[in-house]
Symmetry: C2
Subunit: 346 residues, 2 copies
């Protein structure tokens, strides 16, 4: 990995009003799409078994035309709030970390409030930081709570695969990877310190390695013949993307451990963005975490962008493996250019 960028020092959280994770929730589209479904639909020269073997994915969810991002966000938020027994109108702020929303404007977080039937005009906005967006949102939430808020609802995820479904000629390299799904988290005020360290970085030398143009960069005189591929992730160098996520895992882990004075063996669970099974395994190996202390849902969800890390967290909680008091290192690595992590006691 090119290191023309020097990563920042980690700074202590100068916070004396603490936060903790109250609950999590998940929203998934109805349709399960298998490798065979994709092979059949796009007449791709592959076998379902070869795809599963090489990528680690068996199936993923794809939104139908009728399923909007705000619908799936509302399902995740409802589950999260019900588990916490907290009404949406008790929430001080909503932050959605998305890839595409149903619209650019207004923010999907406002659409979510409408869907949930919120009675209060809760301050809400969307943030974009690729797969690392959820870590940014968690970091934001603990700072809002430090400065006076009681409950922050954050959501991560995408319906990025939705577009794939309706074009005839998707990129065969990426068509199997993406899945639609959303995870929600309620972060609330706590008397006890729970978030021990937070670290985020960017690497602008990777700005052009993986991108979704779907912006004004493709505006041209001949734009009438719009290329639908502007809606898909374009990966200039997949190997570099892989290497960067692995390298960031170690950098983020080292910074977090330095700040907290913990050793890697002190961590009970490591949760990260699992863009492929190999990317997950390589991260574990790089920072020296045994597989039993982590998990990957890539095999059944695919790449759900900023939902990957919190979907894994939710699954560990719901399955009972992760218990209150356990020490968690949570990370996410986005599009080669953005990365971050936290250490918290669940």
């Amino acid at each position: 990995m090119d290191r023309e960028v020097k990563f920042p020092e980690i700074r202590p959280l100068e916070i004396d009003r603490y936060a903790r994770i109250i609950s999590t929730g998940v929203g998934l589209p109805k349709d399960v799409v298998t490798n065979q479904d994709i092979i059949d639909q796009y007449k791709i020269m592959a076998t379902a078994r070869a795809v599963e073997y090489s990528l680690g994915i068996k199936e993923r969810r794809w939104s139908s035309v009728d399923e909007k991002l705000v619908d799936i966000m509302a399902a995740a938020a409802s589950q999260c709030l019900e588990r916490a027994e907290v009404d949406i109108d008790k929430v001080d702020r909503v932050i959605c970390t998305k890839l595409f929303g149903d619209y650019v404007i207004p923010a999907s977080s406002i659409g979510l409030l409408k869907k949930l039937g919120a009675k209060k005009g809760i301050p809400s906005f969307d943030i974009y930081a690729a797969c690392s967006g959820f870590i940014h949102a968690m970091d934001l939430a603990i700072r809002y709570i430090a400065s006076g808020d009681d409950y922050i609802l954050i959501l991560g995820g995408a319906v990025s695969a939705k577009a794939t479904r309706y074009w005839n000629d998707p990129d065969p390299k990426t068509v199997f990877l993406n899945g639609d799904g959303v995870a929600a988290m309620l972060i609330g005020h706590s008397e006890v310190k729970s978030f021990l360290a937070s670290y985020l970085l960017t690497n602008h030398s990777m700005y052009d390695i993986a991108k979704i143009t779907f912006g004004t960069s493709f505006v041209r005189e001949e734009m009438k013949d719009l290329d639908p591929s502007v809606f898909f992730m374009r990966i200039a160098d997949g190997n570099l993307l892989f290497k960067s996520a692995v390298a960031y895992s170690k950098i983020v882990a080292d910074k977090l451990l330095f700040e907290t004075g913990l050793k890697i063996d002190d961590i009970d669970f490591f949760i990260t963005s699992d863009q492929t099974t190999k990317m997950w395994e390589a991260q574990l190996k790089e920072i020296g975490i045994p597989k039993e202390k982590s998990q990957s849902l890539f095999y059944k969800h695919g790449n759900t962008v900023s939902a990957m890390s919190p979907l894994n967290l939710d699954d560990l909680i719901v399955s009972g493996r992760l218990k209150r008091g356990d020490l968690v290192m949570m990370q996410a690595h986005g599009a080669g250019a953005s990365s971050g992590g936290m250490i918290f006691r669940y």
Copy 2:
């Protein structure tokens, strides 16, 4: 305005590590586009004088194909940092509040760092909250500084008019309104309390009043015949949009004055988003601020989305009208569904 949504109470900023505005800066595209230019280009049945009379706009800047959002952001950021004599590598975090970026992913804030030649991998992300985005970013900045950061660079603005330039058939109702431009602000640590109150609200009953679909909401079977208008703001009810911005002005002003114990006459300058000259004037009238205590750059910039309020602030500073120690109420109102403001001592 329909009030099915109850606006939240204002909460005190529980902050004991203070922030202040260090400097501002502006970036504008090269091309000035007059009303006559637009009339000629699109063969619209109107006179330049009538457009100016009815809307208040004489000209605006439109980006050319060669001018990317990150270029204009870099110009604004450079001016802002030079005025502060602060190097980009001293900045702890960069937040861009945009409408469209050059890409969806990676974040434009990372592209900005590349353009500026930052040596440090500064944590950076983009937020979307329509015209109110800059107030969210300021609110975020003071909370980051409260919890340990020293400098936050925030940017607002858009190259939303860029797309207009390259389609043959724009909406004649909105083609005159939008301009491209960016404003930057450096917020830094301060020993003295400067930000006195901050208030943000949403109104999800307005979620469908003004929107840019440019998301997955337009994904359809027949999507091959993509309607380019997905890239433009669609306004279902302009009158309601106007009324909402005026109503929010009063609500936000009242909350901020209540929290600070100030009276409207104590405010030295009122700065807001001036989507049209009439919208600016109606806001002033609604909250009882004389014109001499405000200003609008709509006549020469048009609607620059989240740059409107900070462009006005920068102009007041550069012209010498606004002086250190003056009390400012700054607001912005976005797409009918999001709004907010702050009171600070400049």
